[in-house]
Structure formats: C-alpha cells, structure tokens
C-alpha cells in the first residue's frame, strides 16, 4: 500500500539513506499529509544520514521544520505569559501533550508541530484561573451560549482562550477526558504521581503521559493527527522503557488503575502492527488488561488501527471508516440519549447554515 512507505521509514529511519528520488517524492507528501514531515530531520540526524539525503528533500523538510520551530516558540512564550499572570494565585499547573514533551525534552518534541497550549488545573482552581486570564487580555473563542454551556457542563476543559494580541489557543483542562464519556479518569491520582519541574509547574508521570496520549487518540474524532499521535506513543514507549526497566510492567497496571485499560490495549495493538514498537511481553499480554467482549474488542482494534493507517494525499479519507470513527468517538464520549440530543441539535443548526463550533470539529 502507498502509505506503507511512511510506516517503513518511521520504523527504520536508517532506510531513508537508500530511498530513490521517486520514493522521496511519495514520502514527502505522505509525511506532510500526516503532519510528520519535520520529524524526519531529527530521525535522519540520529542515524547520521541527514547530509546524504537529496537536497530537494532536505529543503522541504527544513521548510516544515522552520514552521514547527516558530510554533514551538509561540507556545513557550504563551506559557511564560500565562504563568506570569497566574503567579500571584499560586495555583499548580500541569503541562499536557506537546508542551510537556517540549518542557522535558522528550523525543516526540523534536519536529512536532503544535498549535495549542494544553494545561491542566484542579477543578476548584478553574474559576480563578479563567477570571485572571480574562482580566489579562485573553478572550473566549466561543461566543455561542449553547456551546459555552456544552463545554462547561460536559467537557473536560473550558472553552478555549486566546490572547487578543498573540492569537495562541490556550486550552485549560480540569480532566483528561470529557466528563460524560465512557472512560472516567480519577484525576487526583494523576496529580499525586505528577513530576514537578518548578514551583507550581509539573508534568504527568511517564506512564500517565503515555496513557493520556492513548486515551486521547482513541476518543478523538480526527483522522489527520492520529498517526502523529501514535508515533508520539511509539517514541515515548521506547524512551521511557529504556530509562526504567520497570516501565513495561507499570504501564498496563497503571492503565487498569486509571480505568484506561481498553484505550491502551487498542493503541498498543495499533503501534505494534504499524510501527513494530518493541513492546515487552507483559505489555502485549491481554491478561494484563480489562478488556471488552471478544467481538467489541476485535472491531475496535480493527477500527483504531485502520483509521490510523496512512493514506496518500489524493486517496482522500475512507468515507465509511470516517463515519464509523465519528460515531465511535461520540459514542465513547457521551451517553446515547445525550448524544442523540447533541447530534440532532447540530444537524438542525447545520441546516440553518450556522457553523457548529463544538469541540473536536
């Protein structure tokens, strides 16, 4: 399959040295479509083959890298500004996803594009944090009352805030997943295990960081960034298991403890299949997981893997799988009754010609 070339290179970056120009032409497009283009430079440099790559390929990768550097800088600056405003509140902040990878210098941070700053605060601190940011020039992105209420009642974050002058989206979470969804994460346990970076600033513990990414990937209704997130998980696993021999045993245990056994299982299966991630036997052993019935398990495993499989840009999205993914992600996120209400409301609005600016769209 066309997309296999990208998987092949991500699995074994040293292979980039032997690609023909025609293969590069395909690889560059695949990597760009899946937001992985800038990742190729650090992967090639680690192999010591960067200078050997065709100049036109390097020019394209460097162009993408310049973009990524710029956005990473914007996120760093935004974090600085947010902390400046929140300093006097003394509220603990926890960095999530890309911001955490950057702060810790983890492998996925290199060449990773990110557009939003994702932060976690405790629920009781949320009103103070939001007030302070609104007073300091951030503005809510969502003006519609229904959408505001939807966020506040059902989501795990408040409506995105954007500073008027800088335009970076700041997402303030109080949990990792929506309050209504199938997976409920006991958030206090994550705070307990968090690793402090500085006063009032921390990141998730290694296992929790990987589990967050896995859970996010499984409930997300986006196809585009999925392979990128799966590759993050692949790199995180390799990095954390190299640094701590207990990590592979800890991971499924922690997943059970946090009620994230299923998402971890689906994601481990997908990464194993698509990237040959060197999971140790205890991570691949189904006995370590709390799994659904065999039918649901197989269907989900198939769906997670196949919706992530890379496709050539002009092949478009597999419409049927996209639809399944949409249903699946909403089904995971909300109870059926609420889901029906929500979808109905959105359809009516769409017919009325108004854009539905609801999370994840």
């Amino acid at each position: 399959m066309e997309g296999d070339l990208l998987l092949h290179v991500l699995k074994a970056p040293g292979e980039m040295a032997g690609l023909s120009e025609e293969e590069w032409d395909r690889l560059l497009r695949l990597a760009r479509t899946h937001r992985l283009l800038a990742r190729l430079e650090p992967l090639a440099r680690d192999q010591g083959i960067w200078q050997e790559l065709p100049e036109r390929a390097r020019d394209n990768i460097r162009g993408a890298q310049a973009w990524v550097d710029h956005f990473q800088l914007r996120i760093r600056r935004e974090l600085m500004e947010v902390r400046k405003v929140l300093r006097h509140l003394g509220v603990p902040l926890l960095l999530l996803k890309g911001a955490a990878y950057m702060a810790e210098g983890l492998p996925p941070a290199r060449g990773r594009s990110l557009s939003d700053l994702d932060l976690l605060v405790r629920r009781q601190d949320l009103p103070r944090v939001e007030r302070a940011l609104l007073d300091a020039g951030w503005k809510s992105e969502i003006e519609d009352d229904y959408d505001q209420r939807y966020y506040r009642e059902w989501m795990h974050e408040i409506p995105p805030l954007v500073h008027l002058l800088r335009g970076v989206e700041v997402d303030i979470h109080h949990n990792l997943l929506p309050r209504t969804g199938r997976y409920q994460v006991p958030i206090e346990k994550l705070w307990e295990a968090a690793r402090p970076l500085e006063a009032n600033l921390s990141v998730l513990a290694p296992a929790d960081m990987l589990l967050h990414s896995a859970a996010h990937l499984v409930v997300s209704d986006e196809l585009r960034g999925g392979l990128r997130d799966l590759f993050d998980i692949h790199q995180l696993y390799i990095h954390f298991s190299a640094g701590d021999a207990r990590f592979p045993r800890e991971l499924p245990r922690r997943a059970r403890e946090l009620g994230l056994s299923r998402p971890l299982w689906y994601v481990v299966q997908a990464a194993h299949r698509l990237f040959d991630t060197p999971f140790s036997p205890e991570v691949l052993d189904p006995a370590g997981y709390e799994l659904p019935g065999p039918v649901t398990g197989r269907v989900m495993r198939y769906l997670v893997r196949e919706t992530l499989r890379p496709r050539a840009p002009e092949a478009g999205d597999a419409a049927f799988q996209r639809w399944l993914l949409y249903l699946r992600s909403h089904w995971i996120r909300m109870p059926p009754g609420l889901l029906a209400m929500h979808l109905a409301r959105k359809s009516i609005r769409r017919l009325g010609g108004r854009s539905a600016g609801v999370a994840g769209e």
């Binding site: 120009e21 025609e22 590069w24 032409d25 020019d59 162009g63 310049a66 973009w67 800088l73 002009e314």
Partner: protein
C-alpha cells in the same frame, strides 16, 4: 513536447515544470491553461514527472452540478483546495495565484522577501513591493531594457549564503499599467486579458527568453530601491539609511516572523551588503535611466 503530447501528459500523470529552485508537478485537463502556459513560458520546458517535486498541483473542473452551467476551475495542492474555485476561463491566473500561495506557505527553507528582483552585470537589484509603488510596471520595464528578471513577487534569499535565486514568472499588470507597458515595450509578449479579477483587469507579461534560460543562475544582492510612483513629480533618487531599509524590508517579507533569528541575520547581512535608496518617479524612461546610472 508537442501540443497534443503535452495535453495527453498533463491530463494523465501530469507534467513537471521548473520554477527556479522549485519543481512543480501539474495535472490539468484544461487545454486553455496549457495554451497560455506555452505562450507565456516559451519554450515551455515541460517534462514527464520523475524524481522529487516540491508542489503537486491540480487545476481542473470541480465535481458537482454547478460546473455544468458555469464552468469553474479548482486549484488543488496535494489534493486539498486552499481556496474557492475560479471561473474556468480564469484558470491561468488561478494557477499563478495558487503557486504563489504554495510557495509562500511552504518554502520556508528560504527567506522570502515580498519584492521584485532583477539582475544586471551579475548583481541583483531588490524592489520591495509597497502598496502603490508601481513595482510590477517598473519591473516589466527594466526587464525590457536589458535587466534579467528574477521575480516580480518573491525575493528568494538563501539565508546561509546571502544569495538571491531567480524564479522567473509572468508579471501581472493591472488596469492602466497594461497600456503603459505596451507603449513602452511593444515587443513584450503578453497573455490574454482577464477582466474583472479581484484587482481589476489583468494582463500578464511573459518573462524574457534570457530570464527563463538562466533561471538556475543566482546573484548576490547589491541595491535595494524602494520605488514610489508619483505622476506629478520627476525622477528623484535619495539614499536611505540601512536601519530604515531593514525595518521596511522585514515588515514586508513573507516569512520574517516565522524564521525569527534566521531571517534577522539574513536581512542584516543583506542590508549591509547593499546600497539603499528611495526612488520617486513619474516617468518610466527616466526611472530606468536613473537605475541604469545607479548600477553602472
């Protein structure tokens, strides 16, 4: 490639076009677009696609019913449409505009000045594009008085070497400028008139044969001239301090903020290596003469 062969290739696996440092793969089933390309980029060096292409582009009729009663053309970059379709008879401006978009959003390997660039005696002149500058008109005029066209729109600067790279493309002229250039340079090869674009009537002037033939040959920058068209005044050239030239250039670059430090260093070196001037002109002949004297 013969016209029929070109059509066949363009409608199938596409044709590869050279655009200065870039290679474009174009798939199109619109013969009028190919005709205009052949006229304005003669000889059109189209090849069968092989190797790496920076931009994979399609310009075709969009699907759906609407196209049946009012034909449209849609620009796709890597299978995605960055903007709404144009009327089909505007496929050529759409292609040119789409390429500008593609380059401006992706080619961050270069520092991209929003300027016309021309070369004489192996050294490059930068004409930054300020609103109302008459830059395109002046650029087309210089090209027909012995200057080699690098670009009317993109000053492609290699940050590590300070070299400017050519990317000769058609020069779009608007409204009154069309007749000004036709009078000034009757030998200029022009394309069809596109009425009522967003910028009024547009006619494209072809790059000269020499500009196309030497499009792989870069040059070091030597002059920065900020042109300003003032019909009531004569021709006046005034030196501009480097610091001011820097500020004006950086505010006007496509990716100055995106490249950050890289662009800061590149522009600092550029301004140090150049003499900078303001040019007010009401008459093209006088402006061309003034610039020829400046560089001789």
């Amino acid at each position: 490639m013969s016209a029929s062969r070109l059509r066949e290739a363009a409608g199938g696996g596409g044709i590869a076009l050279r655009l200065g440092p870039f290679r474009v793969r174009l798939v199109t089933r619109l013969p009028a677009l190919l005709d205009t390309l052949q006229r304005l980029y003669a000889p059109l060096e189209a090849e069968i696609p092989a190797g790496i292409h920076d931009f994979h582009v399609q310009v075709n009729r969009p699907g759906g019913l609407r196209g049946r009663w009012r034909p449209q053309a849609l620009f796709l970059l890597d299978g995605e449409a960055p903007f709404e379709p144009f009327p089909e008879d505007h496929a050529f401006p759409l292609f040119e505009w789409g390429l500008n978009y593609s380059i401006a959003t992706r080619a961050h390997r270069y520092c991209m000045l929003h300027s016309a660039v021309l070369e004489k005696n192996g050294r490059a002149l930068i004409l930054p594009a300020m609103p109302g500058s008459g830059k395109s008109t002046l650029c087309a005029a210089l090209m027909h008085r012995g200057w080699r066209l690098f670009s009317d729109e993109f000053g492609l600067l290699r940050p590590e070497s300070g070299e400017l790279l050519p990317m000769p493309r058609v020069i779009p002229l608007k409204n009154e400028s069309i007749d000004v250039i036709r009078t000034f340079a009757p030998e200029a090869v022009t394309g069809p008139r596109f009425p009522k674009t967003r910028k009024g009537d547009v006619v494209h002037v072809a790059p000269t044969a020499e500009s196309l033939a030497r499009q792989q040959e870069g040059a070091m920058p030597a002059w920065i001239v900020f042109p300003r068209y003032r019909p009531d005044v004569g021709c006046r050239l005034r030196p501009v301090p480097g610091s001011q030239a820097f500020v004006r250039l950086s505010n006007n670059a496509f990716n100055y903020h995106l490249l950050g430090e890289t662009a800061y260093r590149a522009l600092t070196n550029l301004v140090k290596a150049c003499r900078s001037h303001d040019l007010q002109y009401g008459d093209l002949e006088a402006a061309v003469k003034t610039l020829d004297q400046l560089v001789s």
